[in-house]
Amino acid sequence: MSNILTVLIFFPLIAAILGLFVSQKSIRVYGITVAAAEFLLSLWLWMSFDTNEAGMQFVEKLKLIPEFGISYYLGVDGISLFIVIMATLMTLIGIIALSVKENLKNMIITLLFLEVAMVGVFVSLDVILFYVFWEFSLVPMLYIIGAWGGDKRLYASIKFFIYTFAGSLVMLVGILYVAYAYYSTTGVWSFSLTDWYGLILPFSVQKYLFWAFFLGFAIKVPMVPFHTWLPYAHGQAPTVGSVILAAVLLKMGSYGFVRFSLPLFPDASVAYITPVVIIAIIMIIYTAMVAYAQKDMKQVIAYSSISHMGIIVLGTFAMNVEGIAGSVFQMLSHGIVSGALFLLVGAIYDRRHTKLLSEFGGIAKVMPNYATIFVIMTMASVGLPLTIGFIGEYLSLLGFFKVSPLLTVIAGTSIILGAVYMLSVVKKTFFGPLTNPENEKLKDLSTKELTALIPLVAIVVWLGIYPKPVLGPINNSTKALVQLMHKKSITPKAQEIILVSKDKGVNK
């Protein structure tokens, strides 16, 4: 089936529209069914994915606006494949764990729309198409945060929307410029990424474009100092909102770096490694500290995800296979882990209607399963070997170590600081005497919550021990990417830094 990607995009759309006719009380089942079907579809995509093939697969191309070179152009490779699967998975999990009561129907339909946008972003190879999905993804999220959020939800949602919107508009100008550059070199308009990959821009141009794209992605990631929308968004969003925001939407930014910034502007990317990575390191350390200072459980996770995204950016700008593959894998692991953590916070919030750490303490006694899963996720989040969290973090650091050992060591403090804030959360929440009487009656995880969480735990362990099925395709595509960058880089510095294969070593 060649047009599986189209199905993957539009099935949720159609389902969402049909969902309007499903009655309020049976909508949940409907939502789960649709999301599950979508997830299975994405699994099938993986099954029929040729893992030895590095390039784009399941390519579909359909001219939309030939005059202007805009086409409906889809395809996945090892880099995007798993993010797509994660997107569908997290949507499914999110819907399963859904705990909102009032107008559930709108919520589920909105989630399906969001899924369309998410899948679309990661499979579209036409830049305008990408941009369309990219922008459109804001709308359902705005509604989710704004309609089911906390007290400051309006502020949070609008801030989220406008902040990201502003960034991406600058990126749009950049996109249009690249298109024009392509036009003036080849004489035809094209927005298809694969065409653009062939385009070699002079450094003087690359440097501006790099920053134009950077702004768009950096706000989405979010990178310091553009990050302040995130704590509000997470703090106010309902659980499912936070889950999807952390798991998938943030990845759009880091994915953008891998998919656009690096291959389109290799020289500029190399030239600006230092500033970018210094920002990344500030993200890692500074937000880790901020996370440690938080009084609200959810805010800790929110800031921690900024810190982890820092690692991802670091790995991306390592400019070698180890680093980039690592950062891509880290995207997945962060998606799964932070998603799970947000689910867990949501679970406790549903019971106590507070997320303040001071309210808890010693609840490991009353909620052993909850505590167990939380600790597992904590360990994954601090990058314990044999959990999913280790591999990405390790590879990212390993990769960047080649570029700058010193900066890597500084960034590496994340493994310490991460432990500091996560363990202090665990201690404050689960350990110590059970003082607060309200906590004594707490129920342990319900079947619903367990069905949402157990798969994630399974994935965390499975990919921690046997990452090969995922890491393999990522590795192939990343190799291809790095080779491309190396081939089209023009400045000697880039030639030197972009490392296709290690030059030293015994088994070369």
Partner: protein, 495 residues
């Protein structure tokens, strides 16, 4: 002494669309004369019919002909202009059939006046002769003033008088500009003007009168397309006028004037006099930015839309200064898309319009009125949201493509700074559009029955909204043919 030209150069066929309209107008008057106080539906349908025929005729015109002693020029631009004008009018007319009786529509004169106005604007679009443009402009405008006043509320009168007075002054500027141009070139025919200027460019000090004339013209044009600081009438007039009339004003007169601007400034661009280029761009930037800022702080949706249409005008105006086919085409594309979305939005206001102010002592459409609309009327809330998102330029809705083309045109001409300013402007703009969405979706309806009710609901209105919504949502599928159609016509007329 000049000798009379032969009648072959009369070539009345070129004026056929205008004649159709004129005929329609007169018919309506006559019918009323013969048999007074017939129901308005008749007139609506008649007007509709007239417009249909006119549209057909317009599209069947063959390009690049001159008529009426070479004063009428039917080139691609004028065809496009007329098409937009007529199409806009066709979207407007059904809005007269409302549930509530607004007695401006109950006069048959209203419709004939309306047609006269269309006639006037068509003249503007179809002529490259300053005299005819002036006449067309005044015909259209005077009719328009009257139509506004016919809404017959205190605010409507105030709106009309403001518009009228400023219009009169603008007319003064227009004529003065024309006089200066005439003095420098000795002609009122644009092609002639262009030729003469071409020859005289070399002369010392010729720049002063050229620019002087241009500046006066910019004021006159800027008034009509509502550039800051000539925009002052816009918010007030839109507020005073009935919602559909406001929506109408935000498109049709502007399109007519844009065509004139293209013709007139086209000359200067040809001569590439950068000063005028720069002036226009600066005006455009100021217009977009300030309008957005002022729109932020509005309490009334209609007034907000007024400011937003100002900012959109500014956004489009940049394209004129580029002097590229893509630029000019994108203007028409933009207005074509803007017409549906914006009229749709105004119609949403119209459909929810009470006869008397129940929501606010001054405003008919305060934001608070739409609070919690998703709970009261989900479908129309969604539609309104779509219009808002489209205006904000959120893909995949129609105006995004307009924005895309304009920005792309700007980038192609190398004005990256301008492009980024404009882009960031839409980030400001998105705030006030979101504000409405927030009210509709994220706020609770207030219990004191102050929130939106379809006082004015009628099939025709729903139809218009439906069309508008459909066009807005499905844009992706017709952008290609539409754009190539526009580009061909614009290219044909040598821009």
């Amino acid at each position: 002494m000049i000798q009379l030209p032969d009648f072959s150069s009369l070539n009345l066929i070129t004026m056929s669309p205008m004649f159709v309209i004129l005929l329609g107008a007169l018919t309506i008057l006559c019918i009323d004369l013969v048999k007074p106080n017939l129901d308005k539906t008749l007139y609506v349908v008649l007007t509709m019919l007239t417009l249909f025929i006119a549209l057909g005729v317009t599209l069947s015109l063959n390009i690049n002909e001159r008529g009426l002693f070479d004063t009428i020029l039917i080139d691609g631009v004028s065809v496009l202009g007329q098409t937009l004008i007529i199409a806009g009018s066709m979207l407007f007319i059904p809005l007269a059939l409302t549930k509530r009786r607004f007695h401006d529509f109950s006069y048959p004169e209203f419709f004939s006046l309306f047609l006269f106005m269309v006639f006037g604007f068509q003249f503007m679009a179809a002529s490259d002769n300053l005299i005819l443009i002036f006449v067309g402009l005044e015909t259209g405008s005077l009719a328009l003033y009257t139509l506004i006043a016919m809404h017959n509320t205190k605010l409507a009168h105030e709106a009309a008088i403001k518009y009228f007075t400023m219009g009169a002054m603008a007319a003064g500027f227009f004529t003065m500009g024309a006089a200066i141009i005439y003095a420098t070139t000795g002609s009122v025919e644009m092609y002639a003007i262009a030729k003469v200027l071409q020859d005289r460019m070399g002369e010392a000090g010729i720049l002063i009168p050229i620019i002087g004339g241009a500046l006066f013209m910019i004021v006159a044009i800027g008034f009509k397309v509502s550039l800051i600081p000539f925009h002052m009438w816009t918010p007030d007039t839109y507020e005073g006028a009935s919602a559909p009339m406001a929506g109408y004003m935000s498109i049709v007169p502007k399109v007519a004037m844009m065509v004139v601007a293209i013709r007139l400034f086209g000359i200067y661009m040809e001569l590439n006099i950068d000063i005028i280029k720069i002036t226009i761009i600066v005006l455009a930037i100021i217009t977009t930015t300030l309008a957005n800022m002022m729109a932020l702080v509005q309490k009334d949706v209609k007034r907000m839309l007024a400011y937003s249409s100002i900012s959109h005008a500014g956004f489009v105006l940049v394209a004129i200064a580029l002097d590229t086919t893509k630029g000019y085409s994108s203007i028409f594309l933009y207005y074509g898309l803007f017409m549906f979305t914006n009229l749709g939005a105004f119609t949403m206001l119209w459909i929810s319009r009470h006869k008397y102010n129940v929501h606010h002592d001054r405003f008919h459409h305060p934001y608070s009125k739409f609070a919690g609309m998703i709970k009261i009327a989900p479908i129309s809330a969604v539609i309104m949201a779509v219009f808002m998102l489209s205006l904000a330029g959120v893909p995949p809705f129609s105006l995004f493509w307009g924005k895309l083309y304009v920005l792309s045109a700007i980038v192609d001409s190398g004005y990256y700074g301008v492009a980024i300013i404009m882009a960031l402007n839409s980030a400001i703009a998105v705030y006030y559009y979101l504000k409405l969405i927030v009210y509709m979706f994220l706020k609770e309806p207030d219990e004191s029955r102050k929130n939106v009710v379809y006082a004015n609901r009628a099939f025709s209105l729903e139809l218009v909204i439906g069309i508008a919504a459909f066009v807005t949502i499905t844009s992706i599928f017709y952008i290609e043919p539409l754009m190539s159609f526009i580009t061909d016509l614009v290219g044909a007329s040598g821009y």
